[in-house]
């Protein structure tokens, strides 16, 4: 994957209607975003459909990227992941918990500030390792596979409220571990 700053420049160019920049962005990010869709949807045809949907959103929303506080890859991943989760849940006839894209409008927290570094990556992984293994797996399942509380409760064979309590405690522990 290319440097973040290049992706950022592509998004700025896409916002001006530059189709070549869109083509380049697709070339260097589609394998990751398709991976996200495949993992959440577990079906190639549906994942391909949602991938297209995500890139159409990226094309239309690129102008909004510049004013949100997310780093470029996080913004792209969020669009793909939310699109995939919405499709997964609409297929399962569970229209609650929509992940309709939230468009950040704040001018604060520039993207560079939030760029991933190996340090923050290690930090998250180290902190996940401080949780009991099944609790860490539940957090990862929610993020990487888009599992809902109901899905997680079923997968870990615990009542829904227990899963909610598990997750919330895990998130508090993670935050305490990672700091602000």
């Amino acid at each position: 994957m290319r440097e973040l700053s290049e992706i950022e420049q592509m998004l700025i160019d896409i916002a001006k209607g530059n189709q070549q920049a869109f083509s380049e962005l697709y070339d260097c990010t589609s394998a990751k975003l398709y991976g996200v869709c495949l993992r959440v949807l577990e079906d190639e045809a549906t994942a391909q459909d949602v991938l297209q949907e995500a890139y159409i959103k990226i094309w239309h929303k690129a102008a909004q990227y510049q004013s949100n506080g997310l780093s470029p890859m996080t913004w792209l991943i969020t669009i793909a992941r939310n699109s995939a989760i919405d499709r997964r849940r609409s297929q399962a006839s569970k229209p609650t918990e929509s992940m309709e894209d939230y468009e950040l409008e704040s001018q604060q927290d520039g993207p560079e500030q939030c760029a991933h570094s190996s340090q923050t990556q290690r930090q998250l992984e180290d902190c996940l390792n401080t949780l009991e293994p099944d609790r860490a797996d539940a957090v990862k399942g929610a993020y990487l596979e888009g599992l809902s509380y109901a899905d997680l409760a079923e997968q870990f064979s615990v009542p829904l409220n227990t899963m909610r309590t598990w997750l919330r405690r895990s998130l508090l522990k993670l935050q305490g571990c990672m700091g602000q």
Binding site: L51, Q52, I56, H60, P95, T96, Y102, A142, Y143, L172
Partner: protein
């Protein structure tokens, strides 16, 4: 960041997609006015994105990019450009040539310049070569159907449907595969398009005889807010 632990947990649950629809919307509203809530969301989104290495990369099939590029070409005259960029492009001979091509295929005049879409549905048939975009301008109560790819069926007519939430499909009419169609809509369901999907079915010539889809469904897609 000065969020309470509870707000931080809600931000994390929102980021993971674990909140109910009502709670997620409430949190989105809060973020619009509360920088701490927004900062908490960014904190979690960035930290969780560090797990992205655990999504295996997979190269999508070639046709996905081709279809996206076709889509972009069809959009080239409605893409929001800054005024400066627009002027520069119109001065360029290359752009003039591109515009001539667009004129030649008849799209340029077919698209009203005042149409401002709030919703889009990108319908791609997996069983035929049909690709259709449907745009809705809620304010002006206009629907625009753009056929991007595909040819008319010999077996019948393609019919477009919309369903709000879990509601029954409502017909939007028989598709004209060769032309952009515009339809005026003065209907209450326009307000429900944030939770809607559209579909194309193959029906007998002239459209479904029952008012509900009777033939095979060729494409289904959620309506997306723009």
């Amino acid at each position: 960041m000065n969020s309470s632990p509870e707000q931080h947990t809600i931000a994390a649950e929102y980021t993971l997609g674990l909140l109910s629809s009502a709670d997620a919307q409430a949190f989105e509203q809060k973020m619009l006015t509360d920088p701490d809530a927004e900062a908490a969301y960014i904190y979690w989104a960035e930290h969780f994105a560090n797990l992205s290495d655990q999504w295996d990369e997979s190269i999508p099939p070639e046709h996905i990019k081709n279809q996206l590029e076709n889509y972009l070409k069809s959009q080239s005259n409605v893409t929001p450009l800054t005024k400066i960029d627009q002027k520069e492009k119109y001065r360029s001979p290359l752009w003039a040539m591109a515009a001539a091509v667009v004129l030649a295929v008849g799209i340029w005049f077919a698209l009203p310049t005042q149409f401002e879409a709030n919703y889009q549905t990108h319908l791609v048939s997996e069983t035929t070569d049909l690709v259709i975009d449907v745009f809705v301008d809620v304010d002006d109560k206009q629907l625009r159907i753009e056929p991007l790819q595909g040819s008319a069926s010999l077996e019948g007519d393609y019919e477009l449907w919309v369903a709000i939430g879990d509601g029954a499909p409502m017909s939007l009419g028989v598709l004209d595969i060769n032309n952009v169609q515009e339809i005026s809509l003065d209907v209450s369901w326009l307000a429900g398009l944030s939770n809607a999907h559209m579909a194309i079915s193959l029906e007998p010539k002239g459209g479904s005889p029952t008012g509900q889809p009777t033939g095979p469904v060729l494409a289904v897609a959620d309506t997306m807010a723009l």
